[in-house]
Symmetry: C2
Subunit: 378 residues, 2 copies
Amino acid sequence: MKQLILAVTLALAAPATAQPTGDLGLIVERASGSLLVVDQSDRAALGRIEGLGDLSHASLVYSPDERFAYVFGRDGGLTKVDILEQAVVNRVMQAGNSIGGAISDDGRLVAVSNYEPGGVRIFDADTLDMVADIPTGSKTIGLVDIPGRRFVFTLWDEGETWIADLSGGTPEITRIEGIGDRPYDALVTADGRTYIAGLFGADHLTALDLWQDAPQPRPILPGYAAGREDLPVYKMPHLEGWALAGQDFVLPAVGQHEVLWVDARSLEETGRTATHGQPVFAMARPDGRQVWVNFAHPDNDTIQVIDSVTKQVVHQFAPGPGVLHMEFTPRGHEVWLSVRDAGKVMVYDTQSFEKLREIDAESPSGIFFTARAHRTGL
Amino acid sequence: MKQLILAVTLALAAPATAQPTGDLGLIVERASGSLLVVDQSDRAALGRIEGLGDLSHASLVYSPDERFAYVFGRDGGLTKVDILEQAVVNRVMQAGNSIGGAISDDGRLVAVSNYEPGGVRIFDADTLDMVADIPTGSKTIGLVDIPGRRFVFTLWDEGETWIADLSGGTPEITRIEGIGDRPYDALVTADGRTYIAGLFGADHLTALDLWQDAPQPRPILPGYAAGREDLPVYKMPHLEGWALAGQDFVLPAVGQHEVLWVDARSLEETGRTATHGQPVFAMARPDGRQVWVNFAHPDNDTIQVIDSVTKQVVHQFAPGPGVLHMEFTPRGHEVWLSVRDAGKVMVYDTQSFEKLREIDAESPSGIFFTARAHRTGL
């Protein structure tokens, strides 16, 4: 019955009237390999796009016009969907096992990071034809876009970060050695300047200043993970959760019941906040004044909200079982939460913490609003 | 003939196919009281919207869905346009003389700042019905939105800044005295935290930390304008041009041939760069690595590009007579320039500085891309 209702909605919505795209979004339904198309302003689902394969750990990026999404599946599938027509428009199996992607600043190139075979492959955003293949001989992680039609990524086995410059058509590669033992994830700051890799085999992270002509690896937060053997790591924290809150970045501590605060300029630790469980995402509201944190099993029914000036928890609540992901509206007045085991996406007012709406979804995980099209390094 | 071609384009473009809105924009044509609708990806004009009255010093903001723009005319007109239908959908004459506006974080309220009668009026974004009138007994300047359905603005005559909180429906006003002698413009940082007013009657600016419970005025850059009597001020610098470039804000110096660099954290001056003329806008590329500067008459044919690490001019060129405004694509790979007296908008690659396209426009001034919908304080 739900399928029927959604199909009718689609038939009415898609061709009838002009549909702007600035406040739309896609929600990954991991169990069913589908995407729910949503409207932020109406706090409603508009339809469903099916046939995307294995969407566990899926992520996606948007075209600059906010019409198309490029979906990176764990199974190596790269799928282009049209959110106005609510349809898959192209799909290629580009590798055996992939781990995320990025889109160039001009929107012309889509890059995918692969474990098997290890490397990065780059596709024409219109046609999904492969335009460059960059084998690395290693599992490849932490792929991001930076200005100037460039991509940055890191080699798990080699501990190297590579910068691929596509401005001239064929990739020019800059290799930076000495990143550290088994980098497992990485991020770039919103200005595309600072690239930070998390290390599985060392007790620090490594930062690169990409504005330097020859970026040099710099260890940061030495010993930050001391004691992480004390607790089992139920889930590796997502470094993409780093976000600027006031003058600090906030980082979910590996294996600890706390978040770390790191000065955005010096990259020195400035404090820790004890939390309800092992944090998975610590996401700053777009204005940076508050940070919302979700947790690993068995505490994944709970959200804590931390004030970024006092570094104190100011609100705690339990939306429901399996809170997997959060996405703020672009100016931060509302937040959407995926509550997987409730089969719901829940919308909250970020000022009053009032629940505004529940939307049915099939095992929802990642939530991606179209405003991401305009940001670097996501 | 041009009108005819545009009309045909409009007829083809508007209803035929789905039109996403993420890469659109509007360009103010001040002499003809019209707006040119443009597409960033195609680097092309899609059509023209006419009948907007006096558009000298006009500005505009976008609805969260990037479909509607609210245009603030100097004549007190508030006009709502639909960029998908390329039409005026509503227009009210809300005051005798107005000076800009803002839209609340939830997109529900549009506020306009007025000289005559002095104050701020707030309108329902759907209907343009007035929902609140805040008379100030003073010319009112520097109106911005901040999170939590709030607006901030400043009184020229009284030297006060007011915060209007609309979260409860009717405005709750917080008055902050002691801003200084005749504030003429103000800005808020992208996180909505720091509000800075320029003063006509004093040799400093005044900053407020809006995260404080009771924000206290703090003088910054004392003596920054010393010597401004030496040169005539052809045009008051636009404080909205302040933008974060690396760790600094860049500020066009009043009446001087230079830009000032101000530490974004301490608000202390960190350097000055000599420029070709009196700067009007000093705008950071979205990644902050370079700053583009245009100038007052008689140097308004020229652009200089400054590196924000070395603070040195790295490029200079003359696009043509009357360069009035610049707008970067959201991720900064291209920049559009209004060259008024050439009747052209010119599009440049920001990496190679190559000119990519010229687009005909009637005395173009302000350029506004739809990605502004997702940003605070514009």
